[in-house]
Structure formats: C-alpha cells, structure tokens
C-alpha cells in the first residue's frame, strides 16, 4: 500500500528545493500561525511565494511523481479491490443502462471511467454509493454488499465516500464557507473552531480563500467545482468519487483541476474514481481506466495500456473519429 507523501519531502527528494529552503518555508508558516497540518498541505505555495520554486516547476514535480507511480502500477503493488460490481444489471425506462457489469475499483489508486454520453457512467457512480440499487447483481464496498443496507448501516458505509457531483450540488441557500462546513456540522461533533480550521484548510487547498462569503450563484464554473471539491475533501473520505470534474471548463481550469486532484491524491492516497470525457488527457492523471460502452465494460486495466487497445470502439472513442462502430450522425 502506498503511503501519503508530505509535499515538502517530495520536493526535496526530487531536487526541486533544498532541505534548507523547505525549513525556511515551514518556519515562515509557523511564524504566521499556520497549524502544522495546514503547513504540510500548503508548503508548496509558501515556497512559491518565497521564490524558491516557480509554480510550473512545482506542478511538474508533482506530476513526475504521479507519472512514476502510474507507470509502475500493477508492477509495484498488490491492489486491493475497494468496490466490486458482480453481474450488475440496471434497467431505466426500458433500457439496459448497465448490462451484467463486472468491475473492480482498486484501493488507493485513481481510476478513470470513460465512455460515450449516456453510456451508464453516472449510473455506475450512483450504484457505488447506494443512490441507485441494481435490478440484478451485487455491488460490494469492501466486503460489504450494499443491497439490503438501510438507515445507520447504509449511512456508515456512505461515510467512507465523498461525491463531487457533475453540477457541484452546492446548497443554493448557503455561502461557500457554510457549504463546506455543512457535512462537519451535521455529521460530526467538531467545535466551531475546529470546523473553521478544517474548512479554511480545504478552501486554501482549492485556492478559494476570500470567496467564503460568496453564494453558489455568484461563482464561476471553475470556482463552483473547486468549492464542491473542498466540501468533498473536508470530511477526509476514504473514497472520493468525481463525476466529470472538468466538464464545461476551459483548458486552463481543466488542467488546474487535474493538478489539484493529483496533489490531493499524493497527499492523501484516497481511492479516487473519476468520470471524465477529457480523453486522452485523463490517461495522464489516473492509474486505472475502465471503458464503459452501452452498459458493458469494454476495457479495465492500467491507463498506459488503454492506448494500445485493439478494440475498434475504444480506438474510435479515443481518437474521436466519426467513422467506426459508434454511429453518432
């Protein structure tokens, strides 16, 4: 199992900054009253502010680390499944949206689910958290089958998850701060001081400090996604599900969100499942890829192997060709 990486140690190990520079940055954070937990998360930003590293070099360092892990995926690890689908069938409005789906989500890795619009990806995600129940088959989280769970038992299993919805699903009547604080206020016994510290840490991580008093309808698409990501992260989930986190965003914001996901993964080692249409870009940011087409799993394996697939549907989807087995127009 991979352990979380303190960003400072990672930067020093990769020769991006010296140990002395890292010490100075941490001292500056301590002097400004930042807690040690927050320091570990935000030292990269302090190093940039102090001029020891520029932003692009910081991102490059993070990406290099992730790319190394991605290339070694399956070689260096014995992967535990955290979510399993066994012959899952779901029929909606007379259409088999999931057609005897068998799949496994590896623990502590980033898995991307790709496929055509309407191919059943979001339905798959909703089955993972029990928002939908299969007509046939079994969905397991760990060893626990979700079918038949109700009330507190279901709530306990859901407590392992956070889900970033496609539209953010921020509560319109609450500002950004209260939205992020919401799950802590409702589900934990944290004091307001502790809640404030955790909320501000998450807002710093997604670079939304200063936006706490804004309401969702005052945010841009990118800010909305980042605020929703902060709310998803604030509960320290084991499993983070992201439903099209970059849909409708410009390429720069899309890239920023990918770096943010990579940064979060390296720091926390959450199991992440990302539904994405950002093909082939998303292959750089995940260990494992699942291709879903017309309710069936066409491919499930390391991201570096998906490009080599000889399946004509996968090839057409990756290239975006109009000619091929998928007829759109």
């Amino acid at each position: 199992m991979l352990s979380p990486l303190p960003l400072g140690e990672l930067l020093v190990a990769n020769g991006c900054v010296t140990a002395r520079q890292l010490d100075l940055a941490l001292q500056r954070q301590r002097a400004s009253g930042t807690s040690s937990v927050v320091s570990a998360h935000l030292v990269g930003r302090t190093l940039v502010e102090m001029g020891y590293i520029d932003q692009s070099a910081l991102h490059e360092c993070l990406y290099r680390q992730f790319a190394t892990e991605r290339e070694n995926y399956l070689v260096d690890s014995v992967v535990q499944p955290v979510i399993q689908f066994e012959r899952v069938v779901k029929v909606l409005d007379g259409r088999r949206v999931l057609d005897a789906v068998d799949l496994t989500i590896p623990a502590n890795r980033v898995t991307a689910i790709i496929g055509m619009s309407g191919g059943g990806k979001s339905v798959l995600l909703k089955h993972m958290v029990g928002l939908m129940k299969p007509d046939q088959g079994t969905v397991r989280v760990g060893e626990q089958p979700l079918a038949g769970l109700f009330g507190r038992e279901l709530s306990r299993v859901r407590g392992r998850f956070s889900l970033l919805f496609q539209g953010g699903a921020l509560f319109d009547s609450l500002n950004v701060y209260d939205n992020v604080a919401f799950p802590l206020r409702e589900k934990t016994k944290c004091s307001e001081t502790e809640i404030r510290a955790r909320v501000m840490r998450c807002l710093e991580e997604v670079n939304l400090v200063g936006m706490e008093r804004k309401y969702p309808d005052e945010l841009s698409g990118g800010m909305m996604k980042r605020a929703a990501l902060a709310r998803a992260l604030v509960t320290d989930p084991e499993i983070l599900l992201l439903d099209e986190p970059t849909a409708g965003l410009d390429p720069i914001i899309e890239n920023a969100i990918h770096y943010l996901i990579c940064d979060t993964f390296l720091r926390t080692r959450y199991t992440m499942v990302i539904i994405s249409h950002a093909v082939p870009e998303i292959f750089k940011w995940c260990h494992h890829v699942i291709v879903l087409h017309r309710g069936k799993v066409l491919f499930s394996g390391p991201s570096r192997e998906v490009n080599a697939s000889s399946d004509p549907v996968i090839r057409q989807f990756i290239r975006g060709d109009l000619d091929g087995p998928i007829q759109v127009i």
Binding site: G151, S155, R158, A169, F171, D172, P183, K187
Partner: protein, 256 residues
C-alpha cells in the same frame, strides 16, 4: 374501443400507484417525526417561512372576507327582518368554514408552491442526492420540519383569520351600515360555542398536513428539469386546493 379501455386502465393504475407512493411518503414522514435528532432550528425557520411570512396575505384576505360577509349577510338577512343575526352569521361562517379554508388556500398559494419549487430545484440539482451521500437522511432534514411547521402554523393563522374576519364584518355592520355594536357582538357571544372553534381548528390542522404533505411530496419527487419543477408546482397547488375543499366537506359532515 379496446385501445381506449387499455388507456383508461393504464391511467387508473398510474393513479393508484401515485396514491400508494403518497401514502408511503406520509408514513415515512410520521416515522421520521418520532426519531431523533429533532431539528429545532430548521423547524423554526419553517415556522417563519410558512407562518410569519403568510401573516400579511392571511390578514388581508380575512378583513375583506369578513367585510363581504357583513355586506352580503346584511343584505340577505334584512329581507327577512333578521339583521340582528348578522353577528352570529358572520362569526359562524368564518370560524367553521372560511377561516380554515381560506387560510389553507392562502398558505397553499404563498408557501406551498414555494416549498414544492425549493425541493424540486434541490432534487434536479442533485442537492438531495448530495445529502444522502453525506449520510444525512433527507426526510427528517428537509420534509419533517416543513410538515411540523404546517401543523403548528395553520391553526394559528386560522385563529388570526377568525379574529380579523369578524372585525371586518363588525366594521361594515357597525361603522358603515349603522348596526348596533352590542347587537353584533352580543349575538356572536351567545351563538358561538367551543365546538365551533374546535371544528375550525381540526380542519386547520388537517389542511396544514394536506398542504405540506402534498407540496413536499411533489417537490421531493420532481423529475425532468425546469419543466418538471413548473409541472410539480402547479400540480401541488391544484391538488392541495382540491383536497382542502374535499376534506372540508367530509370533516363538516362528520362534525355537524
């Protein structure tokens, strides 16, 4: 012919299924009411939204309903030389019928439609799903405080309607038509019994449940985007209003 019978059958089955779903929704509400935690803050917010913010419209409706009753009652009773019965006629009409019914209809129009729209938008924007994923049961969090607020607020609004409505009738009868104030109020004192007030209150509690139950149900199960919210809001208001009148008839016939 066969096709028409089939369509009729399908529509009947849909209606029965919908009634079943609504009954299950109501049962789930009652069960959730008994299970802690009790969300007092959200309950008070809903009391403010459904009750306090409906005060003006209920008061306005009450004063004009009372004035119209005063005018029409005087006109009718004077034909039979029974003007002295105007006070009891106005008071009993308001306390037994118009108070609960018009308060229920006003709350449906002002607050019920907003309840449906708010929950409907939360549903289509996946905010209700988000609550479930956070492990927060939406029923006690979103629906129960609204139902409890409706049950408390409607009787209070009805009592307010009764007082203002009778005052409106008094204004017309005594100030405009020159009737004796003592005759008007004395008639009310001798004619109105506790049973009349209790009947009005039972109706208002029932209407409070109907409005909040139907409106939250329609909002909670909204589908198909903005058009779905619009459809849910319209059908919630229409169904609540019709059910208020139907229920009014049955309670009246039982309590007479």
């Amino acid at each position: 012919m066969f096709e028409q019978v089939r369509q009729l059958g399908a529509a009947s089955m849909d209606a029965i299924r919908e009634m079943g779903r609504m009954s299950l929704f109501l049962m789930e509400i009652f069960v959730s009411m008994l299970v802690p935690p009790y969300r007092w803050t959200r309950f008070l917010q809903q009391v403010h939204f459904i009750g306090i913010r409906s005060l003006f419209v209920v008061a306005l409706t009450a004063v004009f309903a009372g004035m119209v009753l005063g005018l029409q009652g005087y006109y009718t009773l004077s034909r039979f030389g029974s003007e002295a019965l105007l006070g009891p006629a106005v008071a009993l009409s308001i306390i037994r019928e118009l108070g609960p019914v018009l308060s229920g209809l006003m709350v449906t129009g002002r607050a019920g439609s907003a309840l449906t729209a708010e929950l409907g938008i939360m549903r289509i924007r996946e905010q209700i799903d988000a609550l479930e994923v956070m492990g927060i049961a939406p029923m006690p969090f979103l629906v129960v405080p609204r139902i409890e607020a409706g049950l408390l607020v409607l009787p209070l609004l009805t009592l307010l309607f009764d007082v203002i409505g009778i005052w409106g009738g008094y204004l017309v009868a005594v100030r405009l038509l020159g009737m004796s104030g003592g005759t008007f109020l004395g008639g009310i004192e001798s004619a109105v019994e506790m049973h009349d007030i209790v009947t009005g209150l039972i109706k208002s509690v029932s209407f409070g449940l109907i409005v909040t139950w139907i409106c939250t149900y329609k909002g909670y199960y909204t589908r198909r985007g903005a058009e779905g919210v619009s459809h849910a809001t319209t059908s919630a208001v229409v169904l609540s209003s019709v059910l208020i009148l139907v229920c009014d008839y049955f309670i009246t016939s039982i309590m007479l």
